[in-house]
Subunit: 634 residues, 3 copies
């Protein structure tokens, strides 16, 4: 497969006289893709029903004439102001009950039927017009579902749709009452129409209520997206993508991904480090201009799974962004490193966001490949360098990964609903284990929670998976490799109750979680083997104990292939355990120095130096922000 | 008096086939009491007017047949969903103006007449049916009044009732304007119907407005409760209790207690340490699995006063809870220690919450004596141990305490309304002095603010009492013991104005508070005798000064029996002052090491080790979580 | 000019029998001014249309008879309760959409036409009655515009007025769409009536939308004030003031000031230190009882500019206040020091707030010159001392300042709208530079952003001025002195877009800001000359570089008279740069020890010791809170 570069472009922001020169410069530095259109509804349809396609025809034509391929976005993330006159109740409502108004973007409730119809209407018009365009080589649906906390809406439309969804799922109020345990505080319902949304209750609502509301809300996103993909497929053979955002877990990306051809994500390493990563201040300081060394890789591996092998970066940070608490300038070389790292993880394309920095509106402080005055910004040259390097490289062959790590959106909802301890967050836990694997130099596959065949991997991890799926449990039963399950895995039913018999109920493992405790960060539970559990530990009754805590409880249960981990290990404990388990699984490891990471394709070993200074390791020296590749021994 | 154990049980949560075995196991480990019913309204009355008593008849019968005594709770904390169709406006409204919806518990406004009538109706039905049951040996009204911030409601019902309450209290708007000082910012009212609730004003509302709203809101709780106790007494001779929550000051517990036979409270030592205690991080870390060494004792002494000698623990933490920021597992032995400490302070009964951990709904992560799978949890065995130990003990005789400490809910409202410095909190101040007394090994009585006879005690403390009551002031005037008043005591009128002549206006003490200052924590005012004032200090004009600050102001005023304390002493200053005053009062003290506490009954000295390691003191060694008792010299 | 003292007095708060004695004591200690009336609307007009002037006639008469001059306040900050019956929709609405209710003060929306008419009505009545009173020697409009966040209102009245304002400004929706860049996210409007207020959007609204809403809101304040000044001038020759609050930037003080004769401000040094100053904890601790050594001076210099030379302190803190997080007692001597410092900066009058501490309502914990029992509080004696000292002093002659510092309210709005980094605040930046100048012992003039003649000063600073005005840019072009512009100066258009060509576009300076970055506090950018940039730095293309960062970018651009500063300097860098620039400008400097400050009038050098201990410097020793003056060499 050929690796390609691209860029996001907004012809509607610039005088038409500038388009041809822009297109020529894009082609000149070796870009292949140009994404357009995803926020331009008010220019496609300035008044209800009055379509203006000419400008977009000409824009796509100009780009195509320069040899560029177009990714055409549906503009449904930005319904124009006139839409509100037609559908005054289409706006989402926030958890405090406030209507979320017009004036930015994503101002719609996924459950609003009228807006769903408008979305279908504009997508139909767009697909009819451009579905056979020779220049439109891919599609994007909407933009960054869930961004700005837009999945959970507490509107009347959502309430009505939730009641219908519950009626479908439970068929009778009695069944729902039983499933939720509504007897608990006299919360029984006599009719689905009595059920409100779970916000604004006096104290916490029933966690089953929240869990179903989260499932429902995720389903509404998938439903909304599927309408668009169905329409586009009727008019176009080009592949369809959506651009997911980093560390968003409010809807099931696998469910949406099932309707896509390509998964893509928007990679803003510095913004994410600043605004959505738990890390010590020193870590944040050290990597402020490079990003966390594993955050991008995690998402690369995640979206490779979501896209069933096909994935892109649809928006790549090229310089400072405008939306994080602090917005430093990337270290010179990072715009190149980030792209190469994506390619090493199997990306088909990396598109920088955006071509030229817009001097107006919300993102005027967001850098582009060009400055507002059209002069090249630093990433312009780095993109050109990557394009040049790509030209000289062979096509990619994907590499097998020895380790698989389960990622499950429903578990994120479960623990967001019921963390039990302030520090327990699902993404944080999975990412913590991912980092441990990366520190050992491993290729990792992230896998769906219902994966039914584990044979491709020598080791499988499923930390914090609230409910292990039937296919996964069945696969575990016959699995020959090493598996590490826990903490907190399989500890809930799908309606967020505790199963009896008690967790983890793993096939062939005599282990019962008798008690759990959440712990403040300053109250670690030391392990006899070194390191400690932090934040969370479980007291298990178990037959076969591989390791214990200093206070005498099983810490790692099972001495064969299947292991249950009874707590949240700190780095020291994690590194030790993972090294040991890799040894048993026959996976060679190479512990890496801080900030240095590696990733193999089938033929090539890539090295990435996230440190702000050079690093020397095993005879190689990489400069700050350096990338190195070397052929793998065959 | 015989000491007893009990448990909270929810037959409606479990198959009826399990009830008899549950009852047998309760009896088997020596439990006496079972609390039932307090959240079961939807099962007692599934539809308006359709009563289902059979299951409850059988549940009570089964428990009674096993020799257990039932505490029957009125279910008014959890009105069923159908109630909202009858009374759509019964919900409380929060301080931001948001209606607090159905879906958890305590979803009612105390001022709603319709709901008051429904409450009277269900309690009447319950009392009629079970008032003469041989097994119902006690009652509980509602559940944890005020929990989840439910006393102050900003609903229309509350607004109307508040206006009526004000009209009763002031008779004319002119009188109210004068009392509140409404001339201040042209806030005068021409009619009671012009008066709104004090939330959502542009800047702070008149503190008198807040103070009266808090008084009114407290009265509404007492009124609501009194309706229930009046009904129950018409049908039953069994004593009536309510279960108060820890560190709740939003309503006057003495006022509600006046209508009860027994005060009880719900003791969650680890949850309270984690979520409602000001303490240094190291203190919280050290006692994370044991609870604060004085927090329980304080409430024991408080509810002994509220119950006029008769008090219980209605809910005792048996393991991790589900609602604090972090929820550790108690140290082995603590479920025993906590029960014994309650008995040492005079509890008649200690009931663990709950029998079996429910695997569903909001409290599924709250431990019980049994696990969800009915296997014993650790506290099951500790409860059995306590029962066994109780069996071998003599009955309790209460001990006299040498020291009395005033606790006054109106002062909590005064300083919540007008803290003047961020760190000034009434409970915090009183508890701070309580801890100082406990460190000296003393028995303490907490007393009402209108106590008229102080002769039972050698020393009396009234810190931060905003308005000293007439009876208390009269008693002080002839008091022969040592009294310590202040800081901030008697500094406000009942409508939260500053009295002129200026405070503290103590009988026989020449002292005028000329100025006060609130201080950041890092700005202590050193005392010449050692230690310092923190958070708060007063500059007094005084004739008779026992001790001064390093900057030359009186710190402790009075050299006879009555003393005025002109600031918030730190631990060092407090220990020194209290030791000195105890010496003058003829009270022997025994300074205790950290985490070790003692409490005497008439015949026995109890020792409690709250430390996570053994402690040796004066020849005794107690293990971690250890309890020791020894006969008192007669 | 003669310097005078005064006090704020509320005759309506006290029995009439007390007025004469109060007046006599005021006169006795040498006060000149008494401010009255500004919160007394409910006593002037107890019912709509029923005026009660008698009491105010007598109060003014009593004060006048004692030789005092009256400042009469319009009572429009406190409309009575009956006003709401006439204008139910006059209340402001907060950013969350909640109506801000009656019960404190400032409960009106500046855009409400009905309330504007009521304001005109009461001011007309007041001006007619007292416009020729021999005792009313000055006026105050309203009270502390903007206090309690009252400029930005999200009411229906504001929405309507904003649409009108936009229609006036842009004439067509197309022009507005272009100016705001509404194409960005399909935010185009087809009509002004489609435009809502910018709160409660899904993510941030267009910064241009916010910027215009802030401009509009500021205009509404000026409009409201101008109605009052126009009316008063028709009936009175006495000068008109308004009392501004500290660190308020929500409206343009210069615009309001243009309609006043005198600018005044309310100086609460300890409250401001506690609640509105960014400073290290140790700084706040050290100056907790004295206030920041520069905060008052900054406002003195600001209001001297706003008042075009005529300015007062209308409210001077006399002791602890009631509204800050902590409220310590001022160090003895500070009430004198603060007054003298104001006089040294050119104040005509300093009025203490308030005469007697009110024992009731919101400010009962706010000290006065008298205690609630009429005994003198410490500031009573300090005020008397100042009065005595003033009697012996010559009249003031203002001194020329060598340095001018631009202060621009629109820049505060720009950076509040778009800080780009959490720590970027306009006031903070300007005040940071002001402090650097003060540490060098300089007299400083604060100047308007449209100052057209810079020749009076040897050095001019314009940090963070978002848009440099045409007159200022023209003045810069011919300026012979040293100018220091930046960081972030001239980086925005008036509608908050980035200008192209890129900033700073300074006449005669080859400099382009190619990139900016906001930085966390722990990521400084060291400078080769010592010190560092913190929070903010810019990467510039520049011909003429005076100094660079350690990573090789221009830090200070220009080697002639005009300099551009490419970051936010820390104290070390700032002190070094300012010393150097002063040297080039021929301004002698004298670096001062911590907490010691100086200010010259034309004839006298004043020294102020803000330290809590004595300081010795260049042969002078000042006690804690000490003031020293010495003749300047002619
Ligand atoms: Zn994006
Ligand atoms: Zn409870
Ligand atoms: Zn004021």
């Amino acid at each position: 497969m050929k690796r390609t570069l691209g860029v996001c472009y907004y012809p509607e922001h610039w005088p038409e006289t500038q388009w041809a020169e822009d297109a020529a410069r894009m082609a000149d530095i070796g870009l292949t893709w140009v994404r357009v259109g995803e926020f331009a509804w008010s220019r496609m349809e300035p008044e209800p029903g009055r379509m203006e396609w000419d400008w977009l025809d000409r824009a796509i034509g100009t780009l195509g004439a320069a040899g560029l391929k177009v990714v055409l976005g549906t503009p449904t993330a930005t319904p124009p102001r006139w839409m509100l006159a037609r559908h005054p109740d289409m706006l989402a409502v926030d958890v405090h009950g406030r209507t979320r108004g017009f004036g930015s973007r994503r101002h719609y409730c996924f459950s609003h039927d009228g807006y769903n119809a408008e979305s279908a209407r504009i997508v139909t018009l767009l697909a009819e017009r451009y579905g056979r365009s020779p220049h439109v080589a891919a599609w994007q649906t909407d933009n960054e579902y869930a961004c700005h906390d837009t999945v959970l809406s507490y509107s009347d439309a959502a309430r009505r749709a939730f009641r219908d969804w519950l009626a479908q799922r439970y068929q009778s109020p009695e069944a729902l009452n039983r499933a939720w345990g509504n007897v608990f505080w006299s919360m029984d319902y006599a009719s689905f129409d009595e059920i409100d949304l779970p916000n604004l209750t006096v104290t916490e609502a029933n966690p089953a209520h929240w869990m179903d509301f989260r499932r429902f809300s995720s389903d509404q996103v998938a439903r909304f997206n599927r309408v668009q993909t169905d329409i586009i497929r009727r008019h176009s053979d080009a592949p369809i993508a959506h651009n997911y955002m980093g560390r968003i877990t409010d809807f099931d990306h696998f469910a949406v991904g099932a309707d896509l051809d390509i998964a893509s994500w928007d990679a803003y390493p510095l913004g994410f480090l600043s605004d959505r990563l738990e890390a010590p201040a020193e870590h944040k300081r050290r990597f402020a201009r490079q990003g966390d060394p594993d955050f991008q890789a995690f998402h690369h591996d995640l979206y490779r799974a979501v896209g069933r092998g096909r994935w892109w970066i649809m928006e790549q940070q090229p310089g400072p962004v405008n939306w994080a608490p602090h917005n430093p300038d990337p270290l010179p070389g990072m715009a190149r490193l980030w792209a190469w790292e994506a390619f090493a993880h199997g990306a088909e394309a990396v598109c920088y966001f955006r071509w030229r920095q817009a001097p107006f509106a919300q993102e005027q402080m967001h850098a582009g490949l060009l400055r507002p005055d059209s002069a090249p910004a630093p990433a312009f040259h780095e993109a050109a360098q990557v394009a040049g390097e790509l030209a000289g490289m062979d096509d990619v062959e994907p590499a097998a990964a020895p380790v698989a790590l389960v990622f499950d959106y429903a578990s994120a909802w479960a623990w967001a609903t019921q963390p039990q301890g302030r520090d327990f967050d699902y993404f944080r836990l999975v990412f913590h284990l991912y980092k441990g694997l990366r520190r050992l130099g491993l290729n990792i596959d992230i896998i769906r929670p219902d994966t039914a065949d584990l044979s491709p991997w020598r080791m499988v991890l499923a930390p914090g998976t609230a409910t292990l799926s039937k296919p996964f449990l069945a696969a575990l039963e016959t699995y020959k490799g090493v598996s590490l399950i826990g903490p907190r895995s399989n500890s809930k039913t799908e309606t967020l109750a505790i199963p009896v018999p008690l967790p983890p109920n793993l096939p062939g493992l005599a282990c019962t979680v008798a008690r759990v405790e959440s712990l403040p960060p300053d109250l670690p539970v030391p392990l006899t083997g070194g390191g400690a559990f932090t934040f969370w530990r479980e007291k298990c009754e178990a037959a076969d104990v591989a390791e214990t805590t200093a206070d005498g409880w099983p810490a790692l249960i099972g001495t064969g292939g299947m292991r249950y981990l009874a707590g949240w290990p700190d780095d020291a404990a994690l590194d030790r355990m993972l090294s040991d388990l890799c040894g048993r699984a026959g996976i060679p490891v190479e512990p890496l120095p801080e900030g240095l990471r590696r990733r193999d394709t089938a033929t090539t070993r890539f090295w990435f130096n996230y440190n702000p200074e050079p690093v020397t390791f095993a005879g190689r020296t990489l400069p700050a922000a350096g990338v190195l590749w070397e052929p793998l021994e065959p």
